[in-house]
Symmetry: C2
Subunit: 213 residues, 2 copies
DNA sequence: AAGCGTTTCAAACTTACGTTTTAATTTGAT
DNA sequence: ATCAAATTAAAACGTAAGTTTGAAACGCTT
């Protein structure tokens, strides 16, 4: 019952996703990728055109479905409830991320880590192609949070959303900013369910906290 | 009244700090650095030994004083107050970061961005050298937060600190995870004072929120 | 079985990288 | 002023990077 070997392009995408997360885009060479994928060096340029285009392909394979899932959850929630709670809103984002993180067939947490890393790096390949395509994502969530938290001014809301998504991305990416200083033994640091148990209350508390006089 | 030209090593450090933030360590070549610093290519290896050692030098120049400042604030606070508030505790970390971000002579927000970026990248040069040196930082804050929030279990506290430092690092680093999707016009996104105004309440609310039954 | 588009392969190409070398120059103490 | 040490400079070294090439192998229709 050996798993059938995926085709060349898929093998390249899978290995690239992992190596880009581990070493970063620049530090990952096509020779590392093609060796681990057990394909010929020229296969990358044949199937994807260039290393830059490969990165975009790796990225879009996961990002498009992930964003679609979030928006679908948002649609469903807005159809079901009149007044949205902040927690349910946060969950529409968390749940697809969690599902992705727990699905080895889709690379598990690899992509969320890649996403987080790429956002922090402010990657040139992201600025150009992805920002315009997925502005609808931010717009939808901005409107939804505005309805859930009408007492917040637009500036304060924007900041709180910024903070909320920052910490959520980092949590799923497993970027333990404290562990790097110590040998801290949060053994469950990469267990997605544990993340959510503590993450949602933290984020919701920050979002709904009363405005300072 | 032209500023006197700093010596070669300092010019290299200053330029490297900026380029490492902009393009990352791997994508920044010594030729880019030495050209912009207007020094000879061999100067990096002469003064620092290698590109790896240069990165460490760039990093330690800022990190050691920053951590020292945080711990000094912590000492002062613990000497002054019996029972520490979470907000005052958060401020002992925020204030040195803010001071650094507002001081052009120390590179302004550049280093905090580099720190954030390097943490997310889980950089090899960080794991080896810095983690053991600065474990005292995490230990001190862990103890302090434990005293300020005695009702939290060690696991829950570790998670909340993880989330709190994540969002603080990202905020100072100016990693606007939402702006990359849109052309969002939070014009003040890089204004350190604005960050603190909204950041502290958000973080404190997450930290002190009551434990779920 | 022949033919044809698609894919794979080994090899080479060009370029840029970090580093080293050797000599020239500057600096600072005597 | 002199000499030794520290610094700068120009050039080259060896390696590895992304990409291209042209032929071989494969898969499919006829």
């Amino acid at each position: 019952m050996e798993a059938s070997r995926p085709d060349t392009a898929t093998r390249i995408l899978d290995v690239s996703e992992r190596l880009f997360v581990e070493h970063g885009f620049e530090a990952t060479s096509l020779r590392m990728i093609t060796q681990q994928a057990e394909v010929n060096l020229a296969a990358v340029n044949y199937h994807f055109g260039s290393k830059d285009a490969l990165f975009e392909a790796v990225f879009m394979r996961r990002l498009a479905p992930l964003i679609a899932s979030c928006l679908a959850e948002l649609d469903e929630l807005e159809a079901r409830e009149e007044k949205l709670s902040v927690e349910s809103l946060v969950t529409t984002f968390i749940r697809p991320c969690l599902a992705l993180s727990k699905d080895p067939a889709r690379g598990g947490a690899l992509f969320v880590r890649l996403l987080s890393r790429t956002l922090v790096e402010n990657h040139r390949l992201l600025r150009e192609t992805i920002s315009q395509q997925y502005s609808v994502f931010v717009q939808r969530y901005s409107r939804a949070f505005h309805h859930a938290l009408p007492e917040l001014g637009v500036e304060e809301l924007a900041w709180r959303m910024h903070f909320a998504f920052s910490v959520m991305f980092n949590a799923f990416a497993g970027n333990d900013v404290l562990k790097i200083f110590t040998r801290s033994q949060i053994v469950s640091a990469r267990d997605p369910d544990m993340i959510v148990k503590y993450l949602v209350p933290f984020v919701v508390a920050g979002l709904v906290s009363p405005v300072k006089g």
